[in-house]
Symmetry: C2
Subunit: 200 residues, 2 copies
């Protein structure tokens, strides 16, 4: 089998490192770029290279931002008595789309002994400091970890650490996804949706 030109193979290898992109999709992306004018690759290269320029981490919520504190933390119209605790910045995008109007706290991961991530790697101390410094009478902490075993364990751990803080702790509801099919729902989701049933 003949070898591909080095620059093509190199970019296939780079793309294939990205999550969700296998060698075949990577090759498809590279040949797509090859068929485009030079400007396309130049723009992509420049945009990748600019990604982290002027990018800060907000010292309040630890989300990526161009300013510190970030646009969300400094927005006076947002409710300051609700802090949604999420694993990572991507989760903030999802919750923003869902219309959440409070503040966020990105803890930066999830407790995962297999991957060597303990509670000390997460920004839980900073969350406690933030709660102590807040001037709201009653703060609601919404735990929005992923509905996985590790997510639940992390939520339980945070809940325990917040024991001495005067906050209301809630968690995102578990239940049937909208548009889903009851018949295809897994048994744990279905049992959670039974447990959490509401008056009609």
């Amino acid at each position: 089998m003949s070898k591909l030109p080095k620059t093509i193979q190199d970019l296939i290898d780079e793309f294939a490192k990205l999550p969700g992109i296998g060698p075949k999709s990577a090759a498809r992306l590279v040949f797509y770029l090859l068929a485009k004018p030079n400007r396309t690759t130049e723009e992509l290269s420049q945009t990748v290279s600019d990604l982290k320029k002027n990018l800060k981490t907000c010292k309040v919520c630890f989300n990526y931002s161009e300013s510190d504190p970030c646009d969300i933390c400094s927005d006076e119209r947002r409710r300051r008595d609700k802090i949604c605790v999420v694993e990572e910045p991507l989760d903030v995008i999802a919750l923003e789309k869902a219309g959440f109007d409070g503040l966020y706290h990105v803890i930066g991961g999830i407790i995962s002994p297999i991957n060597g991530i303990g509670p000390e790697h997460l920004r839980i101390g900073q969350l406690i400091d933030r709660i102590k410094e807040a001037d709201s009478a009653q703060i609601e902490i919404i735990l929005a970890m992923n509905p996985s075993i590790e997510g639940e364990a992390t939520a339980a751990y945070i809940c325990q650490r917040l024991e001495n803080c005067d906050v209301k702790i809630t968690q995102l509801a578990r239940g049937l996804p909208v548009g889903g099919d009851l018949e295809y729902a897994d048994e744990i989701t279905l049992s959670k949706s039974l447990e959490g049933r509401k008056g009609f």
Copy 2:
């Protein structure tokens, strides 16, 4: 909804332009890169920018190459009496993996009136010139267009154009994909596989 930092949104937009990557996967890729050390983005940017450096188009087969003629065309061990005609360079990779040992001719697309691509946009004239200049006694032209309606039409057109050339024209077999399931095969594939049945 709060806006994402510009550099993040820009790269999401760039990634989302690539084939098979929607806005959600694009965001996932960008946040993956954000969580990686600066070196990762620098390398990716550099590799994208280098993609077309030193890259030529082989003037014999029109595949991408670092040399002209390309490694395949200049490889004396390859059979020179079989030329496989493909739509695009990606198809060459697939056929190389399948162990094809002849030469290629990349016609550069497919006849598609909807997309404004006529036969004059394809490298069919160059194929005819190549056949005329070849010193092999009998050349086999293997038409390896995609098994689509447009692919079949393009193959039929090329076949007609080669009428006056003294070549043997063949086409890749249509039939059941290996590892596939008879029960799930579509009716056209199944009828083609019946038509093309072989002695056992």
